[in-house]
Symmetry: C2
Subunit: 399 residues, 2 copies
């Protein structure tokens, strides 16, 4: 755990109105790299995800996992005083980030058009299910909906089986990641020209952007791609195999690796076998190849084979459950599992920062904030409010 806000983005101040996952993920990425993120939440209730289980000492583990390194303030955006205070804050930040349903910020009178008149340099980024434009723009979306509509489910699942949803909410996360890139690109333009702008990222668009070769496979061949199970569409062998114990993933991406694999499995005769001597041949005779490899792999437990193949330089992996991920020596050595001290919860385990920078590394220096934890210092510093004024706002439920 780090000790202070640090990284390449320490000059950037973000007012973050987002809830649950997509926007909070964006803000987390930027906060990890040093941005000052002021998370603005509804008084008393806060981000919906504060109420998602499981809980640790009544704090949501979900909320804690995606809101480290942030400040929290409360503000009722429906009250006239709340709106005024929001506008004051908007004049003091570089970025506003929101993920309400399109139209909500307009209804509140706090949309980009209004705010950019107060602060023309503002970068105002919105994440929504379907985007700010188009026939579906006003519909609500959830992760599962965009995974289904955007095509990724249709290509995930057992071969010939039913479509399967990805086990983490990548409908939200991918959109959050694109938005982070968009904000930094806009900031580069801002620093060059002094101009702010509006950024519109849709969860559905973002799903389409990660379909990889599925689009080209379809448009070139006319065949509609379906679930492909745990195989690769054009590299053989590149799939999961049963062993004496659990399955193992093996990827022999070229002829050299194929020979190494055959040697390591103790069946060098397969490396010489004409049926399997090139990748196209291994694809053509896939089922025979698979069956022969299975025969050998059935003889030892997966862990033993993994050690043998690692030593032989053949890419492979057990299919880790989360407990194994947390124990993995490589993942640990890369600081990708971090223990954070939370004032209420104590030790809290979250994922680390995947962007490793040599000169300006980011840091995880602070657990997720309790609701409104930073009201005093933020409102005093950025809006010049007195302790008395803060008390009054609190009493009237505005903060």
């Amino acid at each position: 755990m780090g000790t202070c806000r640090q990284g390449p983005l320490t000059d950037i101040r973000i007012l973050d109105l987002t809830r649950v996952l997509s926007g909070p993920y964006t803000a987390m990425m930027l906060a990890d790299l040093g941005a000052e993120v002021i998370k603005l939440e509804q008084p008393k209730i806060g981000d919906d995800s504060r109420h998602f289980g499981p809980f640790s000492n009544e704090e949501s583990a979900y909320f804690m996992s995606v809101n480290r390194n942030k400040k929290s303030i409360t503000l009722n955006l429906k009250s006239p005083e709340g709106k005024e205070l929001f506008k004051t804050l908007a004049g003091q930040v570089d970025v506003i980030l929101e993920n309400f349903r399109p139209g909500t910020m307009e209804k509140l009178g706090l949309d980009y058009k209004t705010i950019s008149q107060i602060n023309p340099k503002i970068i105002y980024a919105s994440i929504s299910g379907f985007g700010q434009t188009g026939p579906y723009s006003r519909r609500a979306a959830y992760d599962g909906i965009v995974q289904a509509m955007g095509g990724i489910m249709g290509i995930t699942g057992e071969k010939g089986g039913k479509p399967v949803k990805i086990g983490s909410s990548i409908g939200d996360i991918i959109a959050g990641m694109f938005c982070a890139t968009g904000i930094l690109a806009a900031y580069i333009h801002l620093k060059k020209t002094g101009e702010g702008q509006y950024i519109d990222v849709a969860m559905l668009d973002s799903q389409v952007a990660i379909l990889e070769n599925a689009i080209s496979r379809y448009t070139v061949t006319g065949k509609v791609p379906g679930p492909t199970g745990n195989t690769h569409t054009s590299i053989f062998p590149f799939e999961t195999f049963p062993t004496k114990t659990e399955d193992i993933m093996i990827a022999a991406g070229n002829d050299v690796l194929w020979c190494k694999l055959c040697d390591a499995l103790g069946c060098p005769e397969l490396a010489e076998d004409e049926r399997f001597c090139s990748n196209p041949k291994r694809g053509f005779n896939h089922d025979e190849m698979f069956a022969l490899l299975c025969l050998r792999l059935a003889e030892k437990p997966a862990e033993e084979w993994a050690a043998i193949l690692d030593k032989a330089g053949v890419p492979c992996s057990l299919i880790n459950t989360i407990d194994k991920v947390l124990e993995n020596e490589q993942i640990q050595s890369r600081d990708m599992i971090v223990e954070v001290d939370h004032p209420i919860v104590g030790k809290n385990v979250i994922a680390g920062i995947p962007i490793k920078m040599s000169l300006t590394p980011g840091s995880i220096y602070k657990a997720a904030p309790s609701l409104g934890a930073d009201n005093s210092n933020v409102y005093q510093e950025l809006a010049g409010l007195s302790v008395r004024q803060l008390d009054d706002l609190k009493k009237s439920g505005i903060i």
Copy 2:
């Protein structure tokens, strides 16, 4: 299709040595937003993915889908003249991007340490399977390996069933996306201080960073998360249902939507039913709820239900196959499916740009380049080579 390179990043020049997917995805994201990307490929062979099928007029559809908006030059980095030429180019660019196995650039004498002595302002970004450090750093990785090792497979699949690989190569793509954010963050620091730096992004780290609540669910409850099928772990109903035809995804994220769903399905009595009146109760009595909803949903085809639920404001979607994704009116209206004119192939269909910026929008203005298409102009402009020198380099196989 746009007409010229435009966007917030037009001042950034990137020398891109990456192959296949992770790095090419990073470079594509930045090129889409205006960066000048010079893709450096091995003479005669080029990026491995140029040889991945399916092909359209002998051009790889795979390669075309991820290399739009880029220039291509060829250079043999193993020859002394190639190394010298590389160093000349390195002095003329802002970013070097590579995704060789760790150690390769050192072996070539073209690692960060060497290049930063020539150009201290350089941002040098590496994407690798396991990262530049740690016990696995020198191992080769493929998408399937990091999906298995990083935990996402272990939480994806039918409930109680076997782990399933995600149908697109998110092991590569997620790493590419983090790297794009890292490069822009480093560029912001560069513009402020004049300092370059090294960025190390690992595919495995990147997988850990998108596990979402799986880590906290495990560390708080001690239960190892497994595949959850097409359901949500804490919202009910939020899953796929069979209909008279194909399955439909329905997400009723709160009590209001639950009532709307019951009304729209013509079973308002369920909205009144005590067993289902709150989300926790719907979770507790999930199987009964599911069975009752299935009874109604079995009466009409999925498309008909989708229209009814859309009208009622209940989030839902058919599980689109890729052909349906391409036809979707929302996706089309957002320019997320783009036809590009390729000089050899003609019309080529690829995914659009998911980051929509109001003032400095990116553009897709150019199909993927043929191998070495930009040798003349790049080497003349950035290395001052004459036509004669270029001819000689070509004859000797250096470019």
